[in-house]
Amino acid sequence: MSAEFLSALCEGRILASKCGECGSCSLPPRRRCPECGAETGYVELPHRGRIITYSEIHVSASRAELPYVVAIAELGEARLPGIVRNARYEDIAIGDEIEVIIEKRPSESPLSCWYFFRLTKQKR
């Protein structure tokens, strides 16, 4: 179902699954609820949410530019991790608002599109 997540993302939608029985939401979407094993359905998530935790990475092989900031955001009922492009560690607090920005990737990259977070409103 990661394929569904990616194709929806390229259409500008963030797709999660929601359990019909216990109501828990998962990303990327999956057919069975990880919590209770019941069947799920799709839900679309809002593009704005709040940061529930974050870090600033100083040791990594995956990106040339260090450091970079990552966070987990609560989008409606689901939680999505991502890179926060426009902030340093000192700029962020738990509860701050972010927007998910979806961007097209160059055709040679393995993913045709991906996303990042933009800090939109500080809580303080």
Binding site: T53, I57, S62, R63, Y68
Partner: protein, 385 residues
């Protein structure tokens, strides 16, 4: 489960290589540990071999089960690798335990090993990252240290712990390692030094992190009847349990609650018919300082949100109410990933059989928590003499 059944598997021998940056390759480190373990048992009695290794990225070597059997003179035995990132070592013991408990074999060997320092820090970080969710975490460049850092950030926010509180764990574990001749890092540190060490994934710093290490550990288990042939003082395995959680911490409802550890510990306490207050010694998975605090809570040593208070009060030092990581922990004993779970078991055996020298504590019942991913697969053992 009957308590009688739970006493049917014993540890009869254990050996551990010196942990650190080693010249030898992984299988040579195994031989070093094996030679120590087989001082007291007949190696040819071993009927099955289970080897925990995290990654083939370091040595370009898989098939470690067969390779170890070959070097140990145990060809034609059942021998294979088990994997759950940093929980591989304890998982090997769990597999050996199941083999003996099922009656299939009388003597089985668990091995954990890793040769990490052949690669640089960036390559190691990348290799460890394969334990996280590919889409959610790897594609976003979220390293394993960053996952623990995000747990730390949230924990500090929710419960009022300070970065200094995390450093207390590092100071304690470095202190313990001074008395462990096999430890990787033998250097006393202060909270101030820890606070000033360079960031790895903020708020976590170099001195909040386990080092990159090489090492191997061997633990041999046996049925009651076989155990009697070797020793009058075997260590009993009262419980051996496993639970799993989501790979990505983002998919957990309660970020700062290591649910798989709690679940495996609940099962273990039940199997062993013990409660948290019966435990006198613990080795827990302190790959980053925050995790030792989270595990105090998941094991029931401290109420939710109060793990850092237990550390502040010094109750987990040697001489405290519940000494934790007397070996130096992953933090200072070192963290050869696939070996660490068994290094915990090795330390507990040394302590329970009164061979821990200057770091000896008085204990008869102990617990070990080894986990892989970010508390994604938890393996818990309860041991007693």
């Amino acid at each position: 489960m009957e308590n009688r059944d739970a006493s049917l598997c014993y540890i009869v021998a254990a050996g551990m290589s010196k942990i650190g940056k080693r010249e030898e390759d992984g299988v040579e480190l195994f031989v070093e540990a094996f030679n120590e373990a087989t001082n007291t048992i007949e190696p040819r009695d071993i009927e099955a071999v289970y080897v925990g290794v995290q990654s083939e990225r370091y040595e370009h070597q898989i098939m470690y089960g067969a390779l170890v059997a070959e070097r140990a003179g145990l060809l034609m035995r059942e021998a294979y690798r088990v994997e759950a990132c940093a929980a591989a070592g304890a998982l090997a013991l769990h597999t050996a335990y199941m083999a003996v408990r099922s009656g299939l074999y009388k003597v089985a060997m668990a091995v954990g090993l890793e040769k990490m320092t052949s690669k640089n820090t960036e390559e190691v970080t990348d290799s460890l990252m394969s334990a996280s969710d590919y889409y959610l975490d790897q594609l976003n460049g979220i390293t394993i240290p960053a996952q623990y850092a995000m747990l730390a950030r949230r924990y500090m926010h929710d419960f009022g712990a300070k970065e200094e509180d995390l450093c207390l764990i590092a100071v304690k574990n470095h202190e313990n390692a001074l008395y462990n001749p096999k430890a990787h890092i033998q250097r006393r540190i202060t909270v101030e030094e820890c606070m000033n060490s360079r960031p790895v994934a903020r708020p976590l710093k170099l001195l909040d992190s386990a080092p990159i290490s090489d090492g191997a550990v061997v633990v041999v288990v046996a049925s009651e009847e076989a155990a009697r042939r070797y020793t009058d003082t075997p260590v009993r395995i009262l419980a051996s349990t496993v639970s799993s959680d989501t790979l990505s911490i983002s998919q957990r409802r309660d970020l700062t609650w290591p649910r798989a550890v709690h679940s495996a510990a609940e099962k273990a306490y039940k199997q062993a018919r013990l409660k948290p207050s019966d435990i006198q010694l613990a080795e827990v998975h302190d790959c980053f300082t925050i995790n030792e605090i989270l595990l105090y809570e998941a094991l029931g040593f401290a109420p939710r949100g109060c793990g850092y208070i237990l550390a502040r009060e010094g109750e987990t030092q040697r001489g405290g109410k519940i000494p934790v990581n007397t070996s130096g922990g992953l933090k200072a004993r070192g963290h050869p990933v696939g070996a660490s779970g068994l290094a915990q078991i090795y330390e507990i055996c040394q302590q329970l059989t009164k061979q821990a020298g200057k770091r000896q504590v008085d204990a008869e019942k102990a617990i070990a928590v080894n986990e892989g991913g970010v508390n994604s697969t938890a393996v818990v053992h309860v041991l007693a003499v």
